[in-house]
């Protein structure tokens, strides 16, 4: 879903960086608190980032100036919240731009907002709703990962349609429908697969190491929360 380098107008590059900044800063503050209070979490946080990198590198070209792939952010957001997920996603996005020619520097803000903030925020919300309703780990994680993945692509389509509207004076609604419909072909099956995989994973963890999920209870829905 990463928007390629050079695709966005300078205006939108700045706008999305400004949108991303407070979440990123809140994430850094929270991350520092987590690592100070629970140093043993350092490796798990890093591995969550590496896992996001691994999953989101499995890409398929999509007819939109972007591509489709699992996002892998469902786990990170459930464990550490939106802010930390935004930080991890930013690091991963920089690696992908540099090492895989996937995404870009000027589009980093837009890509982080879609993959690292809004998508995961929706996923976390659904995780909370499902857990509150008494759903099991598999169902809750399936819903969270599925929605996090889909919302990431909805936001990306929205960002690109906005850009089409201002850069080329194109019709926003037409562009949004075109982008969404193309993404849907590749992304809905991928989101289902990602949901199943992460659901299986959550079920395994919940039965073998339930203490890991204790940290998820302390996560605030407020994406700007810095409480560890």
């Amino acid at each position: 879903m990463h928007i390629m380098e050079g695709y966005l107008d300078p205006l939108w590059c700045v706008v999305w960086f400004v949108v991303m900044a407070p979440f990123f800063i809140a994430g850094v503050i929270k991350l520092r608190k987590i690592l100070a209070e629970h140093p043993e979490q350092k490796m798990t946080v890093a591995l969550s980032g590496a896992f996001i990198f691994l999953l989101s590198s499995l890409k398929l070209p999509s007819v939109t100036g972007s591509c489709s792939h699992p996002t892998g952010t469902g786990i990170a957001v459930v464990f550490y919240g939106v802010g930390v997920c935004a930080v991890l996603s930013t690091i991963v996005l920089v690696f992908q731009a540099l090492l895989l020619a996937h995404g870009g520097f000027t589009t980093l803000g837009a890509n982080c907002v879609s993959m690292g903030i809004i998508g995961p925020l929706c996923g976390l919300l659904l995780w909370r709703v499902c857990r509150g309703a008494g759903a099991g780990a598999f169902v809750s994680m399936f819903v969270a990962a599925f929605i996090a993945d889909l919302m990431t692509y909805v936001v990306t389509a929205f960002q690109m349609a906005l850009n089409i509207m201002t850069a080329g004076d194109g019709n926003f609604v037409d562009a949004l429908i075109d982008f969404l419909s193309i993404y849907a072909v590749t992304q809905i099956p991928l989101a289902i697969v990602e949901g199943i995989v992460l659901g299986m994973f959550a079920h395994y963890l919940f039965t073998s190491r339930p203490e890991i999920f204790e940290i998820t209870e302390s996560n605030k829905l407020n994406p700007l929360s810095t409480e560890a």
């Binding site: 050079g6 590496a50 691994l54 070209p61 100036g65 690091i91 090492l99 089409i164 850069a167 080329g168």
Partner: protein
């Protein structure tokens, strides 16, 4: 993902590995930004040329096949993306091509066609510049250099850890994929999905075990949050700042006067029979 391994090897053997990482980063960022703030197609073409020349010098013209394939894949995405821009033109302008394909309504105007070419060259220039940087700058050296920008130590540490663990996870993931293939794990879409899901779940579970082992292993080596580097990267000199900003300003001014020099729609008009 194997591109990452290739890129790491390439970076350590680059002829530009001893150049200041922050200097290279500033240079690339200046060219990327000037590329998107000018409307002249010549500016991204010049940036693309600079990127190609730097990449050729950095790698001694020995780009691994995997990297070439990655660039090819990126170009494919760019072609598709630029194509989308070209068919979503402003309906208040006359169309040079109008029609319907599946659910797409095609409305290509001269402006949307020209914009598509501009964005294509911006994107391709961005890829060559970023790869020139990546193929000459190992991530551990870059993260060390980032300390000079007062980026929090925790973030720098995470950058290095994520980078290192990505290799380990990749190795394990590829083993699982190969094992699934040996058991005809991709015979049919449902089986393929299960194999794919199993490999991903297995990789994460492995990563949790790896985290515990790594913590103990690093603690045994007195790990205090920093990874020592024996050959420290060069510091960014004033020359880098002058070169980067000078070139960016020069290209911006050049772009102001060459905005209309190349009109791709008029170039292609005879080929497609467009009446412009």
């Amino acid at each position: 993902m194997s591109e990452q391994v290739e890129m790491d090897e390439l970076a350590y053997s680059s002829r530009m590995v001893n150049w200041a990482p922050l200097g290279k980063l500033l240079f690339v960022m200046c060219l990327l930004i000037v590329g998107i703030v000018t409307d002249s197609i010549l500016v991204p073409i010049i940036s693309f040329t600079i990127g190609i020349l730097l990449m050729a010098y950095s790698t001694n013209l020995k780009l691994p096949l995997l990297i070439i394939l990655a660039i090819g894949e990126a170009i494919l995405i760019m072609v598709l993306g630029s194509g989308m821009i070209s068919i979503l033109g402003d309906h208040s302008q006359p169309a040079i091509w109008e029609g319907q394909f599946l659910w797409f309504s095609i409305y290509m105007t001269e402006d949307s066609f020209n914009l598509a070419w501009l964005i294509f060259f911006r994107a391709i220039a961005g890829v060559t510049l970023m790869l020139a940087f990546a193929s000459s700058t190992p991530i551990p050296l870059l993260s060390y250099a980032l300390k000079g920008l007062r980026i929090p130590n925790e973030i720098i540490e995470l950058v290095v850890l994520i980078y290192r663990y990505a290799f380990l996870l990749l190795e394990r993931f590829l083993i699982m994929i190969d094992a699934a293939q040996c058991r005809l794990g991709y015979n049919g879409s449902m089986t393929a999905m299960k194999s794919y899901a199993g490999a991903m779940a297995g990789t994460f579970i492995f990563s949790m075990e790896l985290a515990e082992k790594s913590e103990a292993a690093l603690a045994c080596r007195n790990y205090d949050g920093t990874f020592p580097i024996f050959r420290r990267p060069a510091n960014m000199s004033v020359l880098w700042v002058i070169l980067s900003f000078g070139l960016a300003i020069g290209l911006y001014v050049f772009g102001m006067y060459t905005g209309d020099v190349i009109n791709p729609a008029k170039l292609f008009a005879p080929l497609f029979g467009w009446d412009l």
